[in-house]
């Protein structure tokens, strides 16, 4: 692997949604891929997530949202990350997110959002590629 250091990822469950199957599967897959993974646990506010991201000095925040609240929560976390000076952190995620919404969020500077049926390899590949690009820049 060409990574100069391990990629640090915060896997987060924002909002009130308790569906953590996806979050746990992706966290375990990231770990198996050699990333350093921190999982927040459930029911996190955007403030809690950003504070954990800053404290843990992560490269990536990956949020899992199956509650339909993605149009509120992704922009909110993005704004708080920017405010905290963590604008070089990749905010990505997955869940039940209609394609149009994913496109609208990407236009706001949020990374790729993955839907049901995504292979964990795709998500790992995406994060690796993004990281390599950021390191080159």
């Amino acid at each position: 692997m060409s990574d100069s250091r391990n990629i640090r990822v915060l896997v987060a469950k924002p909002g009130l949604d308790g569906h953590d199957r996806g979050a746990k599967v992706i966290a375990a897959a990231f770990r198996d891929a050699g990333f350093e993974v921190i999982y927040t646990g459930l029911h996190q506010t955007p403030e809690m997530i950003v504070s954990a991201a800053v404290q843990e000095d992560v490269d990536v925040v990956a949020m899992s949202i199956l509650s339909g609240a993605h149009m509120t929560l992704f922009p909110r976390v993005k704004a708080l990350l920017d405010e905290a000076g963590a604008d070089d952190v990749l905010l990505t995620g997955g869940g039940i997110i209609p394609e149009e919404d994913a496109a609208a969020l990407e236009a706001q500077g949020i990374g790729r959002l993955f839907g049901p049926g995504t292979s964990t390899e795709d998500a790992i590949g995406y994060v690796r590629e993004w990281f390599a690009q950021r390191e080159r820049a």
């Binding site: 949604d17 199957r21 999982y39 394609e99 049901p116």
Partner: protein
């Protein structure tokens, strides 16, 4: 107990029978061996010949698989009779079809009320309320933590006023209503009872169910509020109150659905759910209730997943394990306490975002398994649920799927039609055996609550979920449209239901108006009486009913309880 003597006789009889049949068995064995030899190394497809839960299956089952099995009358028997393997009722669907109950709720109470009327007009026979996440977690629509989630995944109900609107024009003395709510179940139940009161309907005639299964929340679904002990007290208080005041109402629906959806295997779903059920029974008995005073109203809720036969066997095994446990271990004497009645829902997790119309077919097979398993009510998922809340059209197709099954397929004519199948009976026995082994494991961990607190259930479920994901990613298990038979761009073209952002504003306005018009002194009086009851040991239902009638909000009631009970902290891991 007298059964011991009977068991001895049975075993002796069985041995005698086996000796008598030795010749026949030897001949059958020889024929099977000859068949196996003839099959030889005929090439097999490259596929997993295991169930979706990883259970090894043989290519063929014969009477030889049944020789060592329990006697038919002990293990299988007759419908409506102990141990209920063949069904909880004597005549099953010949007398009464399963209740077609579609889970629905979105936006405000007013909009959901319209959807309910639509469903009732299209032949649905019961209602099932889906609440939004704030409600599920005990937050009002105008609480800061509700931001962005009001009315999105279900209907927002923050007080009795919302509950009154939800059932406006729907006679609660005639329609049975199921409510999927757990953490704050006791509060929403009281809103419901109070809303019925406003219609002039007394609790004695209320029919319906509240999910109220907190153990599986800690294990899988995660909409909890209080720690296990006070949460269990609320549940036992509801058992006790309902047995005296609402004898037709099911104060709990012990649910495997969420356990399975979170990744568990069929055997884990079966075992965790029934063990949770027995835990509630033990808690009721420990609180001094007579087991037969509340056990007849305990109801269940299982997932019905892709693996057709394993799912059917799961329902049959569940009835048998429950009946035996209730009679033999907990000493229940009323046959109603032995009878496991269940709701079923097709597996949301089996639906694919890719080629969503294919989901109609998945749902139809799953629904048929539920009917062949003998369910009492059924929700069929809509094809578009992996994308958003279902559209009206998708819900209608899902309901029609049940109607075609019930009225056209013929599966309702004969009770438990697959009984006696060498394969199905063997699967039923295997699932029962697996569940009993898992019970032992839980006991070794100190019981359900200690196993929750150490994260054991959660880790077992996550490990099973990971195994399934690996099978799919390694292309060992085919998911049509996802890792095989994919189509073109993968672009999904389907209408989705969108919740208007104005819902949150409307709810906030409602709440402000409610806080303005209610009697504040009465609010404070009932809330402080509730706090007092929480500190003591009186039944909490009458106190919360008073709060509901005074239009205290969901969060106000939750908060009054939380001040005494504290809140639950999950063990975090992955």
């Amino acid at each position: 107990m007298s059964t011991t003597e009977k068991d001895v006789t049975t075993a002796a009889e069985l041995a005698a029978e086996l000796r008598a049949r030795e010749g026949e068995v030897a001949e059958l064995k020889a024929r099977l061996e000859a068949w196996e030899a003839a099959v030889g190394d005929t090439p097999q497809r490259e596929a997993l010949f295991t169930t979706i839960s990883g259970r090894e299956l043989k290519p063929l089952y014969t009477p030889l698989d049944r020789i060592e099995a329990e006697r038919y009358d002990e293990a299988v028997g007759f419908p409506g009779e102990f141990p209920f393997t063949r069904g909880p009722y004597t005549t099953m669907y010949r007398t009464r079809l399963w209740t077609m109950r579609q889970f629905a709720g979105f936006a405000t109470a007013k909009e959901t009320n319209q959807r309910y009327k639509y469903l009732l007009n299209h032949g649905q026979t019961g209602l099932s309320v889906a609440f939004d996440f704030p409600t599920l977690m005990g937050y009002d629509s105008d609480h800061p933590r509700s931001l962005g989630e009001v009315g999105v995944c279900g209907v927002a109900i923050s007080s009795l006023a919302d509950m009154e609107t939800l059932f406006d024009g729907i006679p609660l003395d005639q329609v049975s209503v199921s409510m999927t709510i757990n953490g704050p179940a006791i509060i929403l139940f009281c809103f419901y009872v109070a809303a019925a009161e406003k219609q002039g309907v007394t609790p004695e005639i209320l029919r319906g169910t509240v999910q109220n299964d907190i153990l599986k929340e800690y294990q899988a679904q995660h909409a909890w509020i209080f720690p296990p002990e006070p949460a269990l007290r609320c549940i036992v208080d509801m058992f006790s109150w309902c047995s005296g005041h609402a004898p037709k109402y099911n104060p709990i629906s012990i649910s495997g659905y969420h356990i399975r959806e979170a990744g568990a295997t069929a055997a884990q779903e079966l075992a965790f759910t029934l063990r949770n059920g027995f835990e509630y029974v033990e808690r009721g008995i420990a609180a001094g209730l007579d087991v037969d005073s509340f056990a007849p109203r305990l109801s269940f809720f299982f997932d019905v997943h892709n693996d057709f036969f394993e799912e059917i066997a799961k329902f049959r095994a569940a009835r048998r394990i429950w009946a035996r446990g209730m009679r033999e271990r907990y000493g229940a004497k009323n046959p109603e306490s032995w009878r496991l009645r269940t709701h079923a829902q097709t597996a949301g997790v089996s639906l694919t975002a890719q080629q969503p119309e294919n989901n109609i077919v998945r749902v139809a097979y799953q629904a048929m398994a539920a009917a062949l398993g003998g369910t009492q009510s059924l929700h069929t998922n809509s094809m578009d649920e992996t994308l958003a809340l279902p559209t009206e059209k998708a819900v209608r197709i899902a309901l029609r799927t049940q109607q075609i099954l019930a009225f056209e397929s013929g599966v309702t004519n004969t009770i438990d039609p697959l009984a006696g199948s060498y394969f199905l009976e063997t699967l039923t026995d295997e699932l029962e055996r697996d569940a009993l082994e898992i019970f032992d494991e839980i006991d070794e961990l100190g019981g359900v609550v200690p196993a929750i607190e150490t994260g054991w259930f959660q880790q077992e479920i996550a490990a099973a979920a990971m195994r399934q994901q690996r099978e799919i990613e390694a292309d060992e298990r085919v998911v049509v449209g996802v890792n095989d038979f994919e189509e073109g761009s993968g672009k999904i073209e389907i209408d989705v239901l969108r919740i208007d952002a104005s819902v949150e504003e409307k709810q906030r306005a409602h709440m402000a108006e409610l806080r303005e018009r209610r009697d504040e002194a009465e609010v404070q009086r009932t809330l402080s009486a509730l706090g007092e009851a929480c500190r003591g040991s009186d039944n909490l239902v009458p106190r919360i009913l008073d709060c509901a009638r005074a239009y205290c909000t969901l969060y106000e009631i939750r908060h009054a309880m939380e001040e005494v009970f504290g809140s639950y902290k999950e063990p975090v891991f992955f």
